[in-house]
Amino acid sequence: MMSVAASRALVGGQRVFVGIGLPSTAANLARRTRAPDLVLIYESGALGSKPDRLPASIGDGVLAETADAVVSVPEVFNYWLQPGRVDVGFLGAAQLDRFGNINTTAIGGDYANPVVRLPGAGGAPEIAASCREVFVVVRQSRRSFVDRVDFVTSFGHGRGPGEREALGLPGRGPTLVVTDLGELRPDPVTRELVLTAVHPGVEVEQVRAATGWDLAVSPDLVVNPAPTHEELAALRALKEASR
């Protein structure tokens, strides 16, 4: 359901900077269903890839073979991401806080002596800064949804309104967080993440219990429609082609 919900946020013709894993699944699903003109951009240098299966990594050969253009890694960051040519950055997170800041560096202890060492930044800090908006896809739990991340790997909305603007960050930052339970969006005024949708069969209390801060609920909360047959079939086809 998480990848289906995330895929629905993408609309035709958008340029999407895609990380591997759930973001890639969601973006490829969207391209196979309601957004066939979606332009997928991978940090490995593939612009406009049209994979017929889910790539196993951001460097999967299918990305280069089906791309409109293949460029070097410096070029993808300097000529394509940095100037703001990408509409949506699609990121994962190990830890996410109430203002949409992302931690993929280290958890617990301090930086030099962490309890859990995570992979690190990759392309995320600049994706979060330069894309017009950022969608985060992440499984929701009290451990991963925290009041304040242990380390800001990628800047979301800092500690509230005006911070992105003060830092001169061109993009709007995280505008949508899709989880296995529902969807969160930043409050337009406070920038705090608010529950705006739950997946079918999910209770609000269940989401609040999986959130490490006192989660606010939108007055316009909706229940997402269940995955359609078309979505499920497309997802299955993508996964089967990847075997």
């Binding site: 240098g45 990305l63 070097s72 410096p74 859990v116 930044a121």
Partner: protein, 270 residues
């Protein structure tokens, strides 16, 4: 002009204890066999540079070759953590590992500066993150025309860069295609360079999307078919996704890793 010879000779000649060594290849064309040869030759105190340290760096770190890691993303792509890397950072085993941590954009630009003979590069990067607080090689810089504040990172100029490519000709000109990563920059930024290739051929027939590194920009070439395994060489091999998955279990356990390492140093496994 690049010398063509064996991998063992090339590593022995080019890689010394204490060197700054970059193995590059962005998921595609990772010079894994060369990394194993560095382990086999028992190099120590290396500063390892790589945008995406994955299995081969997990192996080098677990084998105790590294003193420091300069990187932007360290994981087993599509699988999860690098457990030898984590063990080194979290527990100092087999030795403490100093980290110099960047983003991909920052590392890519550090190579670009290195290849360009410049001491630093400028980018819009790291803004608002905690990285400048833990990494000394990230500094602000002001545009002399607009007054805007941006970020500077220093050039990286490895003592030796190692990459894998599809082909070289007998004069040592190197041709690679598919996802190009940061290989050209890594080779041009380095004082010395080694390119392992799938095959040495009489003539480099043009291939769409291919780039050529002229022989005079490369120090040594070694023919190592399959030298990128478990990564792949477009047109020659497929990525061995099972190996990446299987590495997780080996990497999690110091003993199982030790067995793997014994196999490598005895030249049995790969």
């Amino acid at each position: 002009m690049a010398l063509i010879g064996t991998l063992a000779e090339a590593v022995a000649e080019l890689v010394h204890d204490g060197d700054v060594v970059a193995l590059e290849g962005f998921t595609h064309l990772i010079p894994v066999a060369a990394g194993h040869e560095v382990i086999r030759q028992g190099r120590r105190d290396l500063t390892l540079v790589r945008m995406t340290p994955d299995i081969v760096y997990d192996q080098l770190i677990g084998a105790g070759c590294a003193r420091k890691l300069v990187f932007s993303w360290g994981g087993n792509p599509g699988v999860g953590s690098l457990h030898r890397f984590r063990d080194a950072v979290e527990n100092g085993w087999p030795a403490p590992l100093e980290l110099e941590e960047h983003s991909h954009a920052g590392m890519a630009n550090r190579y670009v500066a290195g290849a360009s003979g410049l001491p630093f590069a400028v980018l819009r990067g790291y803004t608002g993150t905690d990285l400048p607080g833990v990494t000394a090689t990230i500094k602000p810089i002001t545009c002399p025309f607009t007054g805007e504040r941006l970020t500077a990172v220093p050039a990286v100029n490895p003592d030796v860069s190692v990459v894998h490519a599809q082909r070289a000709d007998r004069a040592g000109n190197v041709q690679l295609w598919g996802l190009l990563g940061v290989q050209k920059e890594a080779v041009l930024a380095a004082k010395r360079s080694l390119v392992t290739v799938e095959e040495v051929v009489d003539e480099l027939a043009p291939v769409p999307g291919a780039i050529v590194l002229p022989s005079w920009a490369v120090t040594r070439v070694a023919e190592v078919p399959g030298g990128a395994h478990p990564s792949y060489a477009q047109g020659y091999s497929e990525r061995d996704n099972d190996y990446y998955a299987a590495w997780d279990a080996i990497s999690r356990d110091r003993d199982r890793f030790g067995e793997w390492l014994a196999g490598i140093t005895e030249g049995v496994t790969s």
